[in-house]
C-alpha cells in the first residue's frame, strides 16, 4: 500500500512539473495556432533569470522566504520583456504563411535564443538550491520528500485555476475564446486581435519561464536544458489536444502517474512510457483527449 502511495506522490509531483512546462505551449497554440519551438528557450530563460535573482537574493541577505515571490515575479517579467517584442516585430508578419514556415521560424528563434543565453550566462552551470532546501522535508508513506514538491503542486494548481478563471469569467477570456474560434469574425466584431496575440504570446512565454524558474532550484542550470522540455511539452500538448487547457492537465496527470508506476514496478519501460501513452491516446483519439471543435467555414 505504501508503495502505491509513493507512486501517487511521485506521479502528482511529475504531473505538476509537466503541466507547468506545457501549459504555455498549448495557450499559444490555442490562440495563435503557432507551435512555438522557442518555448524551450523561454523555459531556459526563466531558469537562468531565476538563478541570477536567487543568487543575488541570498547574497544580499534578503528574507529567504520571499525568494519564492522573487522567482515568480522575475519569471513573469522575463517572459513579458522578451516574448511580446518577438511577437510584435517578427511573428506578426508571418501569420499569413504556412504553419510549417512559422514552426521553422520559431525553431530558428530557439537556436538564436539558446546562443543569446550562452552569450549572457556562459556555459558554466548555476546552482540555486536554497529555495529547494529552505522548506525542509515531510514524511509520507515511510518516505522523505522535500516540501518543495508541495510548492510545485500548489503552483501548478494556482496557474491552472487562474487560467481557467481568466478564460471563463473575464471579458478578456471571452475575447480570447472568440479569437480561438475565429479571428476574422472576432476582428469584425471589434476585438483587437493584435493586442490579444501579443498578450497571449507574452503570457505563454511567461508560463514557460515560470516553469523554468521553479525547476531551477532542483537542477544544474546549464545550456540546452530547454531541449528536453520542448519534446516533453509537445507530447503532453498533443496528447491533451492542441490548444486545450483541460487536455494538458489530464495528459500531465496520466503521464505523471504512468511514468511513476513504471519507475517503481518496471523501470526498463520508463524511457518510452510517455511517448507510449501519447501513441495510445492518438491511436484512439487522433486529435488528442480534448481537441477543440473547429467551425467549418463556407
Amino acid at each position: 500500500m505504501d508503495q502505491l502511495l509513493v507512486v501517487l506522490v511521485d506521479g502528482i509531483n511529475y504531473a505538476a512539473w509537466l503541466f507547468l512546462s506545457a501549459v504555455g505551449l498549448t495557450l499559444i497554440y490555442g490562440v495563435m495556432k503557432i507551435v512555438n519551438v522557442a518555448h524551450g528557450s523561454f523555459y531556459s530563460l526563466g531558469a537562468y533569470v531565476s538563478a541570477t535573482v536567487v543568487g543575488l537574493w541570498f547574497r544580499y541577505g534578503f528574507d529567504p522566504y520571499l525568494s519564492y515571490l522573487a522567482l515568480f515575479i522575475a519569471a513573469l517579467l522575463a517572459g513579458f520583456v522578451v516574448g511580446p517584442p518577438i511577437e510584435r516585430f517578427l511573428l506578426r508578419y508571418q501569420y499569413d504563411k504556412d504553419e510549417v514556415v512559422i514552426l521553422l521560424i520559431t525553431y530558428g528563434l530557439f537556436l538564436i535564443l539558446e546562443d543569446v543565453i550562452k552569450l549572457i550566462w556562459g556555459v558554466d552551470p548555476y546552482f540555486v538550491s536554497e529555495p529547494y532546501e529552505l522548506l525542509g522535508n515531510f514524511e509520507f508513506a515511510s518516505m522523505t520528500y522535500p516540501s518543495y514538491y508541495i510548492l510545485m503542486v500548489v503552483l501548478a494548481l494556482l496557474v491552472g485555476l487562474t487560467l481557467m478563471f481568466v478564460l471563463k469569467k473575464t471579458q478578456f477570456g471571452r475575447m480570447l475564446i472568440s479569437v480561438i474560434h475565429d479571428r476574422e469574425i472576432s476582428s469584425a466584431m471589434g476585438i483587437n486581435v493584435g493586442k490579444i496575440f501579443i498578450l497571449t504570446f507574452g503570457a505563454g512565454c511567461s508560463l514557460a519561464a515560470l516553469a523554468g524558474a521553479f525547476t531551477a532550484p532542483t537542477i544544474s542550470v546549464t545550456p540546452g536544458l530547454g531541449v528536453e522540455v520542448i519534446v516533453l511539452s509537445f507530447a503532453v500538448v498533443v496528447t491533451g489536444g492542441l490548444g486545450s487547457m483541460a487536455g494538458v492537465a489530464l495528459a500531465s496527470i496520466i503521464m505523471g502517474l504512468v511514468r511513476a508506476f513504471c519507475i517503481h514496478f518496471a523501470p526498463e519501460l520508463e524511457l518510452f512510457v510517455i511517448f507510449s501513452v501519447m501513441a495510445l491516446v492518438l491511436s484512439f483519439r487522433p486529435r488528442g483527449l480534448f481537441s477543440l471543435a473547429e467551425s467549418r467555414k463556407i
Binding site: 506522490v9 520528500y145 544544474s220 546549464t222
Partner: protein
Amino acid sequence: MKFIQGLSVSLISTFIASSVFSQTAPVAPPEVRIGIVTFLSGPAASPFGVPARNAAELMIEQFNAGTAPAPYNQKGFGGSNIKMVLIDENGSSTSVVTEFRNLIQREKVDMVVGYISSGNCLAITPVAEELKTITLIFDCGTPRIFEEGKKDYVFRASNHATADSVGAALYLNSLKIKAKNYGGINQNYAWGQDSWKDFDGSMKVLFPGSSVTTSQMPKLFAGQYSGEISALLSSKSEVIHTSLWGGDLEAFILQSAPRGLYKSSSVILTTGETAMFRLANKIPDGTIIGARGPYGVLAPKSPLNDWFRASFTDRYNTAPNYTSYQMTQSIMSAKLAWEKAQAANNGARPTAEQVAAAMRGSTVEGPGGVHKFALSNGHQAVSETAYGRSKLVKGAMTLVDVKRFTAEQVMPPDGMKSEDWIAKGFKK
C-alpha cells in the same frame, strides 16, 4: 623565336633560383591539422566539453611554442605547427557523423581527437575506418568500440567503462563493506547500460549472494529524478551505483541529498570528480567518488602532472578535471606517435598507417601517469584507476581513503571481452 628564347631563359632562371633557394632555406613543413570534437553546447559542455576543449587548446599552444616538458618539447608535431579545427559534438548521431566526414573530407584534418558520448563514438568508428583517418577517442567509455571487430585507425588513450565499474566494486570490497544488495541509476544508452552491466557482474563476483534491488534507467538529460530517488529509497539498497554525468549527475545530487539517500546507502558516483568541487557542500561525507581513471585530484604525483595542473590553472583559473586529463593524454599520445612515425620515415611527413603503427602498443606517460596501448591489437590503452571518499574539510572538498587499482585489476586481458572476463571472476 625571341619569345620562346625569353620564356626558356625565364623558366631556367626560375628553376635555378628555386633550386638554390630550396638548398639554402628549408621549406617549412606543412601544418598538422587536428580535428578536436567535444561538447561546446548542451548540458555536457560545462562539465566535460569545455574543460576538454581548454586542455586541447592549452596543449596545442604549448606544443607549438615548444614549451612543454620532455618528451613533449619538440615544436608542434615533429616540427610542424599544429592547427586545431574545433567542432561541437552536440547534435544527433547523424549530424555528428556528417561533421566527422566534413572534418576529414572538407577540412582535410590529419587526425581527429574527440567524442564524449558513447553513442557518438559507436557512430563515427566505422566511418573513421572507412576514411582511413587516425581517430583518438578521448572520453567515451563503451567497451564495444573494440569488442565489435578489429580496428586499424581508431584508438582510445584511456580505460573504457569496465575499469570504472570494476574499480568501484573493488573499492567497496577493499573497504570491507558488507553489501548484501545494491541498486543503480544509470542513463539509458550505451554508457549507462554498459556501466551498470559491468558493475552488476563485478558485484556478483566480489559479493557472492548479493542481489539487485532496482536498476533505474532514466533517459539521458532527464533532469527530473524524484521518482527514481523514491524507488532507490524504497529499495533499501545498501549500495547505490551511478554513472550519471554532467548536469544529470548534478541534478541527481541536488535532488537526492536532501532526501537522505546518502544516509541509508553507500552511494558511488563513478564520474563524481567533475561535480565534487562545484557541489562540495551538497555531497555528503563518505560518498564514493571516481574520476574515470587516475585523473584530477586522483592523479599520481609527478613533475608532468604538476606542470599540467599549474599551466591549466594559470590559464583558466580553475583546476583541470578528468576530461581535461583524458584530452591531454590523447593529444600527447598522438604527438609521440606522429614524431616516432616521422623519425622512422626519415623525417618525412608520416602517413596515417605509419602513425597508427607507431601508436599501436605504445606506452605514454601523461599527467595521469603511465598509459599503455595494450588491448585490442594495441588500440585500447590501459592504466591504473583510483577511488576515494568525500570529506569536507574547512569548507573544501577532499578525498580520503583513496585506493588505487592496477590496470590488470580493472581492465580485461587482451582478446577477452569485458563481460566474459567479469563473468569468469576476473580470471584470464
